[in-house]
Structure formats: structure tokens, C-alpha cells
Symmetry: C2
Subunit: 457 residues, 2 copies
């Protein structure tokens, strides 16, 4: 076989030790917070039947599915001369965690005790054009409660977001809106059929500004007086109470159109309840009502969330909302759920940008036992075993080598302590340990494990 | 869209909460042991270029690769009427962790400090015919050191195996052999060209017995006197020292053929050194030389390992060995490595069979705060927050419901404590907690966090 220059497919990544340590740190923090709220982890297979995936992500999404050729038995019947029929390709790679979760809930409904509080941290695959920050394989981290309409679930998602970012040291802002309120906008703007157009337009407010949003709504056929209503809403100022009061007035027929929006009013009731729960429970991050928050996903029916880092510009690092019929397509209607997704890659970038990864992640090994010869090796092996039994990460340099080489290894691997033991230590039964950061060096009787452990702290 | 009955592809699995808790337990134990030896985690993408994968697993293996259709940009040019040319299919799913690791080492050789001690826990995909215990998607858990010929590495793998199974509570037997010794067998049997045939045959000794092994070797063309030599070897009894001495004699020309095997003798030297290191370091599981241990993989060049559970029949639960040229195919020759792979599914089955999973895994939530009404909900929310801040997994039942329903939920989720608070508790400022296992019930001032935590232990 000829020698190949190795590479990986466009848009995919290898994660080396340093990157993995940082990624695991993020996922561990998230997992631990989820667990204190009673959420349980599940995993679904990377491959799903194409019938499960197709038609769930729109036409664009269907194109971005990675399809897997039938293999094994089937493969022997697949000939590269035959036409590429759909029959040779019945499976695809998971595109997100939401659709497989809906499939899971329906398939396992008889084993699940509802409300079902689950989280899932797995890679997904999309055949998007790779570019900076956009990958063809990336992890999603989703947490959902399904089978309960209570807004205590929304509250807990907000609390978990708060807890995760507090532990990570990232100051965030949590933005909340409600899909029913967006429906209300369209109704009092006299265009109940234009909810999606209005939503898509105002979602861009941050990026393109009010004038462009108005232009876009006009292009979509919204009348001038309707646009004026939306403008009035988007210009509302003040805190939650002020905005709520103003919106109540507008939805109660107080807008230029005079239309009353029952749906909008129900959305406001939900928001009022949720903000009440949030203040009863106590959340450290600022939580605010953002009436321009829309999020593209049409399946949301209640609360909508977005989380932004206060000190790093990167767009939203979490997002989610309530949906009422996610499992309907798989035959289980009327199961309401609410969930939020943590953007692992963006959170990684924020922590990198703000230098918030703990310094301890850089060194995985505490002590290198240098090795001068075969006897010295046998001398240090039981010491290594004892330290490991005490939970300390220890490496034994695998072969007698020049000390310089062993020091270099310790340096490259950021190992903070080195132990060098020769014939004098062996005779005295001692262990000689040097702190490579402070330069301090000390000898210990080799069974003085407590003193050694204290020195390695 | 019509309603679909949901299912997953043949040979794949969903892992629900209970199964995930048990799987994570196994992986966490393994990870923690690896880390105390200074091994670092990496991850590679699920998709590799087909050129990386093809030809590495034999003809059979090539057929078992899952191939991915080009998608995205390319996909729009792929028409289901056009022929299925290799050009529309350039990627495949990872078949094992070894080849991607070799690719990784070569691709990142300038960033790596050798010896490189890595582990990797990720799923792999094989289009095998699904059957009991054989899946098309399953996790592998590999640990390797690359860039060091020292047998300290073999020692550490043995120590890590020992540490992992000690922590899991599984009594194991560690079997060791050496590929050079197997080469020696063929040489002193007068058939140096038949190493693979002899290896394959004696590997089946456990399953088919000596007579059948002899028949198979005869079928492969081994002469009767050669077979007699192999029979003499396989019939050797005694401990390591006895077998070693007997093999030294045979390899030194003491067999019926009188042939001296230099390679075999080098293999024995390696075994002697490794067993010496093992007794110097101390390992709790029995480690023995198994001269019939061969393992199919032809790339092994030195030590070979296999691990079996003593109290559960399931075949080997770990296996590995030393290889000298894994990275050669990707352009980096002469890099010696040694590794071992933990069979996650079999270890899971052993722990299930021997009932060794900790009981604590069954309940992820410690306390359910029942909810009787809106006021009671607001009363318990800060209590939930305080307990979670102390690291306790707490659930708040999300809506006021009949107590029976809330008790049922606690029971189904195996939550051991429930707290029921009504108007009298709210007036008194107390929290009423019941241990659902012992039946004990106690009331605490709601700020007596230490007493509450103690009761929940």
C-alpha cells in the first residue's frame, strides 16, 4: 500500500488532549447542574431511519442530511454500476437531538414516567458548507421536560442556565419572550396571517435596526398602520412591569387597530407567572423580557429563551422554548414540552476569549517519576502505585533516559512536580521531589505518604 | 404528514436513563483510572475519509464499512438517476478507534510529546449482521501509549486493567503471551511460514480442544513432527517460572526439531522482564502466561493481553497488545506502541450478571418536593435552590396534583425522600421530610440546612 498523507473530512475536527480537557470541563459542569434538578441522561443512535429524519427540518434541512449507504448484507447487492436509487440509502446521521428525542419518547412511552426530564449531549451532523465556527460534526447539549405544561419547568431551565454559567464564571443575560405574544403582535397589527413574516422580521432587530425591520414587514405586505403598531411595541421601554402593563393595554384593544388579542393576553399571563416564579426562586443573572426575541423555529408555542454572554460578543449561547406537539408526527399528540439547548462550541469560545478555563486543566499529571536505570525503576514503581491509590495522577518515565529529556517531557506536558531518585535515595529509602514551578525541593521517607501528598498539593 | 410508527435501524440502540447511569458509571471508573496514570483523552470525528479506512481491515472489513453519501454542495449535484459512482461516496463511519488514532498521531505528530499516552471512548460502526450481543453501533474504549518501546507501558496497562476491575468489583484473570513466542512456535515446529495458521488454530484451544487444534494444523499442512512440537508446548504445566524454563529449553534447540528460535527467545526475554515488573509493582489480580493466547490481529509484534472475568462466562472483556508499525501506512514508520481495549458492552453484561452496579445508580434524585398549590410551590422553591446549591439532586413536582400521583412519581423514579408541606408548615416555617424507605418522618426549621442534609444522607 502506498503511503497516504492523513487528513479528515472538511468541517470535522480532532480534539486533542488540551481541547478535550476543556470540553469535558464544560460538559461536566453542565451535567452536574442538570443532575441536581433531577434530569437524566439518555443517548440515541447516530444513525436514524431516513423516514424519521426527512421532512422534519424543511427542504433545506433534508438536503443537509448525511445519508448512509446500505452496507453489510445489503451492500453486497449494491453495485457501483447500478443507479443510485433511494432503496440503497435508508439511513441518515442525526441532524439534531430534538427529532430523535421526540422519536425516543414515542417509542418508549410505556417505559417513561412523565413528566420526563432528560438531557442529551451528543454530536450531530449537517452537510452545511464549512466555515469559521460552523462544522459538519458538532456537539449539541439539550435539556427538555416533556409531559408537563407547568411553568415550573420554564423556571427550572432558567435556574439551570443561571447555575451553569455561574459555575463557569460567565456573566450572562437571560432573555425571555413568548410565542403567544408574538401572535398577539400580528393580531393587533391587523395581520393575523403574517405571524411568521413579522416574527422573522423583528428577530433581526438587533442586527439590522428598526428601519430595516419596518421595510421588511412592508415588503411582506404589512400595512402602514400595522407597522406602526409593531413599531410602538418595539419601542416600549422600562422593566418587566412597565412593558407588561403597556402590552396588556395594547392587547386589550388599546392599540391603533383597536383589536383585542386573547392569545396575546394569554402569553402575557404566562410571562407574568414565569417572572413571578423566577423572583420567588431567586436567579443571580439578569432576566429580562425581550419583545423582539422570536427565534426562527416555528414549533415553539409558549415561552422562548435566549442567553447571551455579557462580556463577549458571539450571539446567543443558549436558546430554547416551549413546544406543544413535537411528538405528534410520531403518533403521540398533545404532549407539551419545553427545552433549551446549550451551544457547546460558542461556550468554549467565550471561556477561551475571557480566559475562564481553570488553570488546573492544563496539567493532567501531577508528578513525573524520572527513571535513571532498571533498579531505580523498580524502586519507584511501588511509590507510583501508592500515590495513584491515593488518587494522584502520576507518570513513571517509561525508560531510563537522559534527565534533560525527562525534564523536557515534564515541561511539555505541564507536569508541576518531578521526582528524581538515584542510588543515595534508594539506600536511604527516601523520595526526592521537586516543585518545578517554585523550585522547592524536598526529600521524604518513601512511606511518608501523607507528607508527600501534602507537598504535592 | 402521515403518522409514523417510530423505530431505529437494526443493530442500533437507545440508552435510557437507567442504562446510561450504568454505562456512565463504567466509563467514569475507567476514565478516572486512566487519568491517575497520566493518560489523556482525545476524540476523532465519526466520519473519516474512505481512503483512511479502506484496506485497513481486510476485504471483509471493507464490506462492513458504513459509507456516507456526499451531501450539501455535492449532494445537489448527486442525482438519484445517475449511477452510484465512487465519486459520490468519499467518507465512511469510523470502524474502530485504532486506525483513526494512527491517523491522528501522524497528522498531529508535531504537536504531540512522545511517548503519547492517550485514551479514547467513542462509538464505532460496523455493518455486521446484527445478533445477540453484536451491534452495528457500539462504544470502544481504547488506551494506548505510542512512541516508547519500554515494557513499563505494558506494565501500566496491566495495572490499569487491575485497577479498573478492582474498582468495579469484578474478579478478573489477566492472560499474557507474546507474539514473538508464537513466531518461535512456528520456527521450532519447522514451519516458519505458517505462523498465522498455527496462531489461528491454537487461539481456538479453549473452544475446540487440543485434538481439533491438531486436526486444523494438519489441514493447514503442518507436518506430524511439527504438530508434536506444538502439542508439547500447549501441554506445558506449572506457573510462569516453569513454563518459561521449559520454553527456553525448547527455543534453545531442545525441541524434536532441534531448531533454535532467536525470535522466540527474545519473546521470552520480554515476558520475563514484564512479569518481573509486574511483581515489582504489585498487581492484585492473578496474571498468568497463556501460551495458547494468540488473538487474531496480525499487527501485534510483542506482548499480547486478554482479560477474563473469573465469575462470569462471557469470553474476553479486554484485549490488546504491542504493535510496531501502526502509523507506517500513514507515513510515520517505526513508532512502537502498545494498547488495550475495554469491551464496554461485555463489562456491562458482567456487572449486570453479577449484580455489581452500585444501588445508588438506580435513583438519581434524592428528594421530591411535593406541591399542593401555588403558595406552597413558592414556599418550597427557595428550599429546592438551597439544597441544590449544597449539591443535592432535588425535584419540585411541577404542578399542584393529587398527592397519590406525586407519590407514584417518586416511587417510579426511585426517589428515596419526599417533602410535603401545607399551610401548617408554611405558618411554622418548617419543612416536613419523609424517608420513603424507612418510613421515618421529621420536620425541620426551613433554614436548618445542616440537619436537613444529614437526614437526607
Amino acid at each position: 500500500m502506498s503511503v497516504q498523507k492523513p487528513s479528515i473530512p472538511k468541517g470535522t475536527r480532532d480534539f486533542g488532549p488540551a481541547e478535550m480537557a476543556r470540553r469535558n470541563y464544560i460538559f461536566d459542569v453542565i451535567r452536574n447542574v442538570f443532575r441536581t434538578y433531577g434530569f437524566q441522561e439518555i443517548q440515541t443512535p447516530a444513525q436514524e431511519n431516513l423516514s424519521t429524519l426527512l421532512g422534519k427540518y424543511g427542504e433545506e434541512g433534508d438536503k443537509l442530511l448525511f445519508r448512509i449507504l446500505n452496507s453489510g448484507d445489503a451492500f453486497s447487492e449494491v453495485d457501483f454500476d447500478k443507479p443510485l436509487t433511494p432503496q440503497v440509502c435508508e439511513k441518515g446521521l442525526r441532524y439534531d437531538l430534538t427529532v430523535p428525542f421526540a422519536r425516543y419518547v414515542v417509542q418508549h412511552q410505556n417505559e417513561i414516567s412523565f413528566p420526563f426530564k432528560r438531557f442529551q449531549i451528543q454530536p450531530v451532523w449537517r452537510a452545511d458548507r464549512p466555515q469559521k465556527g460552523r462544522y459538519r460534526e458538532f456537539y449539541q447539549c439539550d435539556v427538555d421536560v416533556i409531559g408537563s405544561k407547568s411553568q415550573v419547568n420554564e423556571l427550572e431551565l432558567v435556574q439551570m442556565v443561571d447555575g451553569v454559567f455561574a459555575r463557569l464564571g460567565v456573566r450572562v443575560r437571560i432573555l425571555i419572550n413568548n410565542r403567544k405574544v408574538l401572535t398577539g403582535f400580528a393580531e393587533i397589527a391587523g395581520a393575523p396571517d403574517k405571524v411568521v413574516d413579522i416574527t422573522v422580521a423583528i428577530d433581526k432587530l438587533d442586527k439590522i435596526g428598526l428601519e430595516k425591520v419596518k421595510e421588511e414587514m412592508a415588503l411582506k405586505g404589512l400595512q402602514a398602520d400595522g407597522i406602526a403598531v409593531i413599531e410602538e411595541i418595539l419601542s416600549l421601554e422600562g422593566g418587566f412591569a412597565e412593558k407588561l402593563a403597556a402590552m396588556k393595554r395594547l392587547f386589550n384593544g388599546g392599540s391603533a387597530s383597536g383589536v383585542v388579542s386573547e392569545t396575546g393576553l394569554r402569553g402575557l399571563d404566562e410571562l407574568e407567572e414565569l417572572f413571578g416564579l423566577i423572583s420567588a426562586a431567586g436567579v443571580s443573572a439578569p432576566v429580562s423580557l425581550d419583545l423582539s426575541l422570536a427565534r426562527g423555529l416555528n414549533y415553539y408555542t409558549g415561552a422562548i429563551f435566549e442567553v447571551k454572554a455579557q462580556d463577549w460578543e458571539i450571539g446567543s449561547i443558549c436558546g430554547g422554548g416551549r413546544y406543544d406537539n413535537l411528538t405528534g408526527i410520531f403518533g403521540l399528540p398533545d404532549l407539551s414540552g419545553v427545552g433549551i439547548s446549550f451551544g457547546a462550541d460558542r461556550i468554549y469560545d467565550v471561556l477561551t476569549g475571557l480566559d475562564l478555563f481553570p488553570a488546573s486543566l492544563a496539567s493532567s499529571t501531577k508528578l513525573l517519576l524520572a527513571v535513571m536505570g532498571a533498579d531505580e525503576l523498580r524502586y519507584v514503581l511501588p511509590i507510583a502505585s501508592a500515590l495513584r491509590a491515593a488518587g494522584v495522577a502520576v507518570e513513571v518515565y517509561p525508560e531510563p533516559s537522559k534527565l534533560r529529556k525527562q525534564f523536557e517531557y515534564a515541561e511539555k506536558r505541564a507536569i508541576p512536580f518531578i521526582s528524581i531518585n538515584g542510588s543515595s535515595e534508594m539506600e536511604a529509602g527516601t523520595v526526592n521531589i521537586k516543585n518545578l514551578v517554585s523550585g522547592e525541593q524536598k526529600a521524604f521517607p518513601r512511606d511518608a505518604m501523607d507528607d508527600i501528598l501534602a507537598f504535592l498539593q
